[in-house]
């Protein structure tokens, strides 16, 4: 008869990891004012109760004037900020600095999902056209249809501004594709070139670790070596 063979070795790193205890929920603070402030900070993304407390205690140590200034800056940011009438980007005036810049190619529009994408593309310092911020992508599942997005203003823009090229810089997923096809269908009669950013192997990436879909796509949409070298 065979005897079952048991080894009772519990991996140390598994046991050493303490379970999160929910003590923070029961944080006892001497002041309600303090607690309210902590709760407000903890609503911010990436900030837990402990970090919130540290930030609040830091503010408590500072001059009253300085904290007032801090508060005012935040309030002013929220109340005074505008969205560009033309492209939907954040702006201090009715038209944002990108749209107002005469050095930028006004007949080139890059369509992005949100303001963060504008910042990302601006940081490349490679794009000298203008933007159009959709404010989301089409996803009926999340209750977002075309009418919730700045699509009408985009079609108007293309008509009135005699746009030469529309570049889609949306996330490469199904909803991104849905949005691209939808807009493309809306404007297909207009004499405007429509392109999308390249998809494929990331710069500095390794082929071995790329997923098959990306690799396959890179092979299908391969580039002439001449243009590849000149673009580096």
């Amino acid at each position: 008869m065979l005897i079952p063979f048991f080894i009772h070795i519990i991996p140390a790193h598994f046991l050493a990891k303490p379970y999160p205890i929910l003590y923070l929920c029961k944080m006892q603070l001497a002041s309600n004012l303090l607690e309210n402030a902590v709760n407000e900070f903890a609503k911010l993304p990436g900030i837990g109760k402990k970090t919130a407390l540290r930030l609040v205690l830091h503010l408590l140590k500072q001059d009253t004037a300085e904290v007032s200034h801090f508060g005012e800056t935040i309030t002013k940011m929220r109340t005074d900020i505008q969205f560009c009438n033309r492209c939907g980007n954040v702006s201090d005036a009715a038209i944002c600095t990108i749209c107002a810049n005469p050095l930028r190619n006004q007949r080139l529009i890059c369509v992005v999902e949100n303001i963060r994408d504008v910042i990302a593309i601006e940081n490349t310092q490679q794009f000298s056209g203008t933007y159009h911020v959709l404010g989301g992508i089409i996803s009926p599942l999340d209750g977002v249809g075309p009418e919730q997005l700045n699509i009408e203003s985009l079609t108007n823009r293309i008509q009135t501004e005699e746009t030469e090229e529309l570049i889609f810089a949306l996330n490469p997923n199904i909803q991104g594709d849905t949005t691209i096809y939808y807009i493309q269908k809306k404007i297909q009669q207009l004499p405007c070139k429509i392109t999308t950013i390249a998809r494929g192997i990331a710069f500095g990436g390794e082929l071995e670790y790329a997923d098959e879909l990306t690799l396959a796509r890179s092979l299908t949409n391969r580039l002439p070596v001449g243009s590849y070298i000149s673009n580096r």
Partner: protein, 361 residues
Amino acid sequence: MLFFRQLMLTQFRNYVFDSFTFTQNVVGISGANGSGKTNLLDAIHYLCFTKSYFSRPDAQNVHQGMQGFRLQATVTRQQQDFELLCILRENNRKEFLIDGDAYKKFSSHIGRFPCVMIAPDDVELISNGSEERRKFIDTLLSQLNEDYLKNLIDYTKILQQRNSLLKAAAEHNRLDDALLDILDEQLSERATNIYNRRNDFMQEFIPAVQQEYESIAGKGDEVHINYYSQLHHNSMQRLLRENRPRDLYLQRTGAGIHKDDLEFSMQQQAFKNIASQGQRKSLLFALKLAEFNILKQYKGFAPVLLLDDIFEKLDAARMHNLLHKVCVQQQAQVFITDTHKERLESAFEQLGIGFELVKLE
């Protein structure tokens, strides 16, 4: 072949911590009811499929009163060793690592370490609705072809979007035709890919199942299997176009590959209406063994076979046949559970092969 050499379970189901080492191709697991026989098989399934066989949420697999679990195994696949690790963190986040590298997408693990499980409730595959059969075919095809799984995931997502749009259209009494057109186009592309793949596969799979059935049940009752799909006669695009008024009325998509089915019949009648218990079980084994054979053929090595409580379902002669087929001919690692240790022992001794027994308390 795929071979599990060591398995460690921490806070998984009824295990607080246990470690098992396997040295033989045939592993019998015995123990009383509730001793964790099925859980041990499910742990192996977890490591092959990143999820439970019994489609329950991950959190339900944690040992009562504890948080998180950890499953770890050393497996050998064609002379190469791999370390598989599945961790459910305390916050219910699941991680899956192979040789210390975490997967970004769990779907890329599917198919690398194939296994086939046969559990008592699987007869539902034959008697229940078509969803079970689609799931069975999808699970198998996903292991053979990564592209299929990708198409299937996309199809499900787009279908959800389309149904949401149909619902929203009914609520607001206004429909964006252009958007529905786009979704139909996206859906059709995936549906066609999936249909072609399923159709090709059935040419090979259906004869394989029939052959297995014959060898288990004998030549007498011939079972007929038909792959049903609305796409046999119409393209997906046309189906969606023709069904649009109906879909708008019902607020869901009524046609497509999500209505496909495998129809079993015997003597021109539906199998589930006239088949005996024994015939159902024989068909179930035929389906699963055909799955096993196809996996072996495509992968070039034998998958792990998990047999849960099957002694209850077969007479001694059929059992011997089945065990001989999978343990001796196929050279696969087989895990078999039973409540009676003696029954396992005598069955294995008859086969005259090396085996080991794990007794659970």
